[in-house]
Symmetry: none
Subunit: 209 residues, 4 copies
């Protein structure tokens, strides 16, 4: 048992307020960064948007750099946590994969601007930070990789590299966000998902004798 688990109502209240403050600043930062980019956002502007003082930003986050790291991690963690909840274990591999593609696309489409921000600003991050981001992204598509492995075992899919399929699925989802300026005007997300899924499943299907 460590100190944190000691129930101190005073301490609990403090921790709760800290979380609220962090969220307040983080959301404002995400909003501004998505609209104007990391470099165009000034701390003064952020403080105004978040309705806190400039100094407070520095109490809750180490600096502008750490803020970027936190914003991107926050977005990617959301992705990582949502996907497993939406995968149903009781389906065939093909149906599972189709469901995973749809889920990932919808999850990412819901935070389209956050996804674009991650692409835009990841390279701005420092070495260790960037490594954490990459790690998160790899973890996000782990469920997809798992489905493919199972499909291969059951003979549902023709022989493929599960890693490559996971990558491809991720690019399908990211593609909607990255090229929304083009696709958005031509089709609905539902159409996009349906067509990409069909293409993928046909591509993966084991040849019928």
């Amino acid at each position: 048992m460590n100190d944190d688990s000691v129930e101190d109502p005073r301490e609990a209240k403090r921790a709760e307020r800290v979380q609220r403050r962090r969220r307040q600043i983080l959301d404002a930062a995400a909003h501004l960064m998505q609209r104007t980019g990391y470099h165009a956002m000034s701390i003064q502007q952020l403080a105004e948007e978040a309705d806190v003082s400039v100094g407070l930003v520095y109490q809750y986050f180490g600096g502008k750099h750490d803020l970027l790291q936190a914003v991107i991690e926050d977005i990617l963690q959301d992705f990582e946590q949502q996907l497993p909840q939406r995968i149903r274990a009781d389906e065939e591999p093909a149906a599972q994969l189709a469901g995973a593609v749809r889920s990932l696309c919808e999850i990412i489409a819901a935070k389209r601007e956050g996804t674009v921000l991650a692409y835009r600003e990841s390279a701005t991050l420092s070495g260790p930070g960037l490594r954490r981001i990459k790690e998160l992204e790899l973890r996000t598509v782990q469920p997809v990789r798992q489905i493919v492995i199972e499909g291969l075992a059951s003979g549902a899919f023709r022989p493929v590299d599960p890693e490559l399929v996971a990558h491809t699925v991720l690019m399908i989802a990211h593609g909607w966000a990255l090229k929304h300026w083009n696709l958005g005007a031509r089709m609905s997300l539902d159409d996009y998902v349906r067509q990409e899924t069909e293409l993928l499943l046909n591509g993966l299907a084991a040849p019928t004798k």
Copy 2:
């Protein structure tokens, strides 16, 4: 025949030097932007890298912003011009498409960092500039779209939206550049192209009776 075509050796020499200077600055800018990003590159730094004075940068390019536009356009124009040269007209649609996927992947892989730069900094561009970039990208994948249309006409492919396939092919190629930190360690470009091509062609193939 207009005045420009009159052969003035003085003018010709001047024009040639102007081109050399522009290229000198453009290449240095592309190099620095790819290494550190647009915002991290200072004009001072660029001038040193290009071995010219700060003022000259402003004489050849209106400002830092125009320079970014020029760098990205330069990269994308290169893509647009190279692809058609590598498509063979005398093949079957499937083979043609496979060739196009390979070509595009190789072209983009050769300027991997430029591609990533375009993703990173496109949002930094001004409205009209961004529109030109998007236009260029659409033009780049036109040949792919054309191949699909012909394949559909000949019954080689199952019914699909050619626009979507063009998008998918572009994402295959961009995917290599964007996720090279992951893929590069796992497979060669050749492997990547082979596997993605197989997936795609299987996905597209008309069902045999």
Copy 3:
């Protein structure tokens, strides 16, 4: 009663310091501009003279341009406020006018360099700013115009355009500032005022029957 009138000692102290800072910068700017002109004054130099940082200048004034506007307005407001206090209501029009001429000359002579600065740099101001300056100058000579109107009504002056007299009085006062390099060596301000006043009053006097 509005919120501002609520006595908040914290807020009052803050406002007082803001006023002191503004004045500190404004005075230093006026001093430097009068010595070297607007363009020759650098913000760096101003910050040193005012003993503040460069950044603070931009916090209190939007930029160099706004600073010029503020300096000139500050000078002209001073003129506008001082003149009415020195006009005595209980005198004959001629005596009132003589007093006004003397007062205006003395007021302007006391800020001779500021007056010259206003002439030098007014054209540097932006459209709306320039309009405010002109408005201020017109208001400054309103009392003179009023005296003339009353003198015309009482028959003390021969028929003249009050606007023109107001202009002439202003030019008498400004003339001392603008041509001080010549006049200053030849006569005292007192002599100048006496002689110009005599010329003006004789010029205005209604002919005796």
Copy 4:
């Protein structure tokens, strides 16, 4: 006899071309400075306006500073030369003075913007240059001073300081230029001259017994 008087047709032609070039540049410079001020005018811009190369400006004038000196001197010399031509020797002092006031006002009104430029930028000049400008201005009003001296001698004017009257006349003429933004909308130059002249002559007139 010096070398310059030797009639060398080659040399004469050269000198003529030099004069034409100087004038070409000077006029363009005067035009730009009057529109935007000395500091806002760049040599590049001037070269374009004058339709010569940047380098040529430096062959005919030492630099930007010398150009300002030349422009202002050019304007003031024009004033100095025109006034004597328009004064008639065969009139009464009062009529002569009235004529001089009218002439000076008209001369200056014709180069209103040049006059304002001289006020704006004189302080920008260097010491020796400024002295020459002041000298020129004093010489300009010499004829007025002379008329007053003669009028005093003949008893036409009440005792006044001729220097002060010359100054006052100059301020009447300059006043039209400096406050044209106000006066121009209220009266014609002719009205202005008539009223100021009446005021001045009444002010100067020797009292009738």
